[in-house]
Point group: D2
Chain length 497, copies 4
Amino acid sequence: MDCNDKKKVLTGLTHECGVFGCMARGPWPTQLDVPQVICLGLIALQHRGQESAGIVTSEGKCSKKLNVKKGMGMISNIFNDESMQKLKGNLGIGHTRYSTSAASEEINCQPFVVHTGHGALAVAHNGELVNSEALRRMVLSRGVGLSTHSDSELITQALCLNPPEGEEESGPDMPARIRHLMQLAPLSYSLVIMMKDRMYGVRDPYGNRPLCLGKIVPVDHQNDNEADGWVISSESCGFLSIGARYVREVLPGEIVEITDKGCKTKDIVPRPEGKALAFCIFEYVYFARADSMFEGQMVYSVRMQCGKMLAREAYVDADIVSSVPESGTAAAHGFSKESGIPFAEVLCKNRYIGRTFIQPSTRLRQLGVAKKFGAIEANVAEKKIILIDDSIVRGNTIGPIIKLLKDAGAKEVHVRIASPALRYPCYMGINIPTTEELIANRLDNIKLADHAGADSLAYLSVEGLIKAVRWKIKKGKNDIGHCTACLTGEYPELPDW
Amino acid sequence: MDCNDKKKVLTGLTHECGVFGCMARGPWPTQLDVPQVICLGLIALQHRGQESAGIVTSEGKCSKKLNVKKGMGMISNIFNDESMQKLKGNLGIGHTRYSTSAASEEINCQPFVVHTGHGALAVAHNGELVNSEALRRMVLSRGVGLSTHSDSELITQALCLNPPEGEEESGPDMPARIRHLMQLAPLSYSLVIMMKDRMYGVRDPYGNRPLCLGKIVPVDHQNDNEADGWVISSESCGFLSIGARYVREVLPGEIVEITDKGCKTKDIVPRPEGKALAFCIFEYVYFARADSMFEGQMVYSVRMQCGKMLAREAYVDADIVSSVPESGTAAAHGFSKESGIPFAEVLCKNRYIGRTFIQPSTRLRQLGVAKKFGAIEANVAEKKIILIDDSIVRGNTIGPIIKLLKDAGAKEVHVRIASPALRYPCYMGINIPTTEELIANRLDNIKLADHAGADSLAYLSVEGLIKAVRWKIKKGKNDIGHCTACLTGEYPELPDW
Amino acid sequence: MDCNDKKKVLTGLTHECGVFGCMARGPWPTQLDVPQVICLGLIALQHRGQESAGIVTSEGKCSKKLNVKKGMGMISNIFNDESMQKLKGNLGIGHTRYSTSAASEEINCQPFVVHTGHGALAVAHNGELVNSEALRRMVLSRGVGLSTHSDSELITQALCLNPPEGEEESGPDMPARIRHLMQLAPLSYSLVIMMKDRMYGVRDPYGNRPLCLGKIVPVDHQNDNEADGWVISSESCGFLSIGARYVREVLPGEIVEITDKGCKTKDIVPRPEGKALAFCIFEYVYFARADSMFEGQMVYSVRMQCGKMLAREAYVDADIVSSVPESGTAAAHGFSKESGIPFAEVLCKNRYIGRTFIQPSTRLRQLGVAKKFGAIEANVAEKKIILIDDSIVRGNTIGPIIKLLKDAGAKEVHVRIASPALRYPCYMGINIPTTEELIANRLDNIKLADHAGADSLAYLSVEGLIKAVRWKIKKGKNDIGHCTACLTGEYPELPDW
Amino acid sequence: MDCNDKKKVLTGLTHECGVFGCMARGPWPTQLDVPQVICLGLIALQHRGQESAGIVTSEGKCSKKLNVKKGMGMISNIFNDESMQKLKGNLGIGHTRYSTSAASEEINCQPFVVHTGHGALAVAHNGELVNSEALRRMVLSRGVGLSTHSDSELITQALCLNPPEGEEESGPDMPARIRHLMQLAPLSYSLVIMMKDRMYGVRDPYGNRPLCLGKIVPVDHQNDNEADGWVISSESCGFLSIGARYVREVLPGEIVEITDKGCKTKDIVPRPEGKALAFCIFEYVYFARADSMFEGQMVYSVRMQCGKMLAREAYVDADIVSSVPESGTAAAHGFSKESGIPFAEVLCKNRYIGRTFIQPSTRLRQLGVAKKFGAIEANVAEKKIILIDDSIVRGNTIGPIIKLLKDAGAKEVHVRIASPALRYPCYMGINIPTTEELIANRLDNIKLADHAGADSLAYLSVEGLIKAVRWKIKKGKNDIGHCTACLTGEYPELPDW
């Protein structure tokens, strides 16, 4: 059975989020600016969700309680010097959340924190449980009332409810509890779980969502073997800005424990037998920041490689190659390099658009020009242009951009998309519009080019994307595997329960 | 006497603003979506000021009052469908304002509106009156109380106080009043002035601040000679997005009148005898959006040309040319083209930084890494990099960027600035830090390179900048003139009063 | 001509406001907590307006500028320790404003402050200029643009525009300027006018609006002849709470000057010949706080006397006399004393109603019970009740109250109103509903009793009210005069211009 | 063991709250305006808590989910027409909360709602569990994580965890679950518990907190036997305003079930053997609104009776009896009646004080005058006054009031308190200051009179209060019992566990 068979009844609350954790070396009080590190770490993950955020910290073994600050909106609006003061600690975790507006309430902000018989427990989650309904029924049947519909509360209560046999009175055997949860729910999540004196980083056995480890090195001795602390993060893009060095990815199924003594693998929970790895390929295409690392390579390089592949697959004669800034620029440089056609900027982005609450007039709708961009006429007029973007989803924005370029004098505009057509829903944490809304399900390339006013339009093939992604991965064939469900409809296979 | 001699006692409130006006053809009710046009026009000018904004409209000759909506913050936060409804009209003006926090109050929002014996009058102003003190004393001595310290109120009351001899009872002779004001205060401003049934566009005789005219053409007949309306704007960058075609710049000293019949030059007030034109060269370097037009050329092209000049003046051997996004990118492409060194992106900008209220910890300050950027290590490691930016002001941001690139493995980083060193204050509407804060007044190129951790650092020369700016201007020698006061200390000459 | 003939075209912005001023003895820095005194003084005047408020202070002769803080809402929301710090000074004035929502904007907040050739000038105003249109035309004709429609700005600019002949260069002759204004506009206002080192208290020649003087006495020597400072206020009710002793009323037409040396009458501008005094009788009936003093008597005593008069005029047999709390309680005690019928409370007021934004359902509308009150059934059941209130305006609230009492078992409810029926509009600063909305213009006593469900209903007569008001005033016949325009339609007579 | 032995470690979150429920007759859609009724019902309970409030409704048997709206602040700020629309239903419960600022967060707002295996469950709670720690340990030991420290979440999870043996699959046996909870935690609470199609009203076996039933009668047939619906409320004071008739109190230990068929007693859980009833006597003295009914009598009447008792116990010769408005007025009228000394108002309350954020200056602190009140000098000067208030807690406010009266000329001020001295903490839901803060523990009557500036001071005796409370109660000796712990230190006896 694959998860395509499953009917989702709950609103996913955990789409495309960012998780982050930090632990200082040694006992409290520590030298390391833990809340600052978490806050900057979350700012570097802000592209993964701008709806709400939260940070939870602890002063360590002797703490009576966790320090919590959560709020709606951007990191920079939620946290300030005053909240930083209250969040002092030597370990902590944070979360930044994307969500649809329906469930956009403070009660759903993460990390989710509960008081248990063994002290407080906090959980931050990126991903979506494909079998959340079964897990939910199990928790409810045990007599627990649930306050929200979020996977995070569900995970938290499931961790509370299931002590392994023989767990000692002195404290919970968290790795065993986590392992049990992973067996009940193998897909999909990256988790950071925190108790008052330790934290756990967990990646689902399919490796669907990303998670990586970093080491904070002393400012003055950047090459020192000694670490001042450890960080765990959805992406590595912010590591330099907090003085951390990239160590490695958390492995699919791995449970990493971080204490004030250091960082240790507690277990690697295997995938259901015979099932393949399934790292989300859309992280490369769209979500991740270009300066992040997955599978030993930079996202920027993969995107550039996609552009090169696209040049081979869908070359067309033109004066310049350009991009929709900033999403298509890496691929455009790749296309330019491969094709030999010079790169030039044609669009100027208005950085101050904001979220307007003004309905366009009929005239402006007819006009159909992108107010978010301006045309650099000097580079556009009388030119044949290849315009690269990273993806097309609903297909609403490309038409006005082409109109703008044509109004500015472009002779031809050929659209090239550096990823395959998006056709299928995702049940693993990516918020994709309904099948009907996906333009590729309604219009083929020729019709879409016509609809958008382009002179031609082509996508990168699935094979081309996979080739670009795996170009430089140095792994055995069995250690590699990507989820392309949204492009191909081939979902990761779940075990037969 | 030049304005360097003048001591400014008032806080300038009108720095670097954007002004905009729109008038529909024919009588009310009109087909044209005037408030929408103004709102989009201001959004396209948002880079000139994000502190407050306002729109004033009128339904024409028979209007009893002007419709006014002003507020603090960004256009998208101030205006919504409800305010658009209340702003319906067939003509209107708008303003978006930059200011230092001190005077950041709602009372200073523009346009400034007063009720006069001849009906309401609204004024939007970009620039700064270099002799505002003398004008202020004149107005006060006439027995008028002033509510604010803003130049805009001063201009408005000065227009009210001074009817020309022989002005008829039927209505004010606004061109004569404006001309009188321009003689009292020749520098510096672009103004849009509005009465209930007409508006005026005014540029100071020195041509210091920009202002241009556009024509709104019917959606279906983009080449029709007929206009649906006229617009007047600080910059042309938003014209395509509102369906307008660029017509021309308002001339230095020109008074343009726009009514429902069309657009007419009422007067061209000459500069004081023997004084040169002084269009602000910093509009090319820094302020204007790259897709705007001044003096018949695109700003983007000038910036690219600056990069080419810089390549000739300050070449250095390197593997790649890159830029601080997005301010240095046009110049970097120019440098690359001229030098033959390939362009590659090395920095990834965090678009979600926001305005944080968190003091960095000591460790993070020591670390000194730019949190606003990430390094694209694949393009950086082991590379000699030429890094282009448009300007250096206080010199605080370049050091952390170089640190980031070095941490990411850059072998060498050579900084090249596509404008001359900034050394002098401006009294004409540009908010420049104090002389002491300007880094170029404290450190020469070698010391600054050292201070910032660069392997070398060079500015474009003043001659290089002027050459780049005038490369394509097709005008006689007398019709050309740029203010380079902030770079050279040579201020426009005022008349001897 | 009386002011009934005048068409009001402007929205009155100055209805029922409170004005306050305070000046410390001796030079700055002073011992007296001037901003605290003003703030508490305004809190004691909060019943006169809850829409916006403002305070302006000065540090005296050497001040470069006035300190200003204004805002929308209640005093307690606008002012805090931080604003108090910024308002430090040794003199200052304040204002609390009532207004209709239309003009409820920050720009209309008082005191109104302008910069003049002689330094800053601030004005706070209670009342309404009956000939504001003429004054406005005069100001506009002089070439001044007006920002608002408020009388306060008009007064301020009029004071700026009209220096008396022979005024010395050294400074303005404010008493002469004020006198000139009073001749142009004799009705109606109480003003406090402030310059950096002095203030003026002004009452219109008809004495329409109240204004009184107090002296702040040292805490330890309450009987000392020495004053620590002087205050000027619309009402005296807050004097004890700021440590001030009531001195006297400002006289009709009087201009009082307060400096750091003391308090001095500068002029008493006479009424237009043959015209009578016209102190607003509704201050006694409704506006003023019960513990304020006018014309040598307490408002509470007058209200009690009104109840006694009412007992004589409209006695009815009953078990108890009661009141609508708290507006009718003083009169009810008077009625009880005069009639011998015992007083008992029958209504319990919900102090926490707030301003709800919920439409009542049809059922609740039909039910028609006052949600603001509860019935004290133990005092109500089986009783014949005389229910006293101070006034009836629209007549919407009395019906539900009677319904509540009847539901709680009252046998009879006889309504007695301790003032005459309200029938006419006011042009002197009182916000009275339109003639059609005034219930007394639509229903006579019998019909209104029927409509409200009362067993009978009666008003106090105009003669009864006047008798109650003048009961204890010790003045000659010529020195007494009350405006009863809203009750009788007899407006104060203006001079024939 | 009594609960005085218990150490409280948790912050009580449920002090002095108000609970309310409403259910319409018959199936959805119903005629009854259920959300409006709840909202008005809560407004009438607003005096029991102004910190936060919430309403939860259901459309009945077929509802998929409960409608929830909670928020910080007053009812009138939280609910509006929009939220009323979303809260439509034919049953619902509401809560208004008082709390100390520490725990003043949105997460603690009630009603507390959880999803269970049997559908949603909502709980609103007034009171405080004296053995919450034991219950909490039990819940945590069962593997449930708790999000808050509130008794309400604890009660809710306890109801989820404990199905009675033999509970059918078809649905939970809520009466059995509630009974089980009541045996675990016998003191103190009034609860309204709601499922999608029914609700329960529960009062603890000691009868400590109040709860009563009402019947909504058709508007047109107020005497009809048919009900349109049922309400359940902490107090009866709002019943007339929602068209409800008072039916009876919920009995101590009673579980009332309300469905669309009507209202039925499901059980009466007995008190632990030999233990006495303990209805909070402070509800009569202080908390309840004067127009509420407890034990068959009006609160107003009891307060008046307290005044009569006080006149007998602590008479003193005087000219007038008066009160601190409005808290002491009922008792003052009783004192006046019993003593024959006439009642007169001496204090005028400023209804607009608000919560100020201004530190009084040293001078104002020395002055020590009550800014919340003004003196009605006409009734005060030269008078001997008996001043009645309902209680003295910290003793901070009475001194400034006496100072005000003396400043206004009072000859003598004799303070009489219509309740005994407050000396002991409460563990049953009343927020009483620490023992040290209670003035009666520091100063005896003579010293307190001296400290406050009174000529004499006396409290009502405990016996006097009990006599006043029981004056009219028609019950057998065994059915009567009041908790006087805060006055006497005699706490209700708990069973020996």
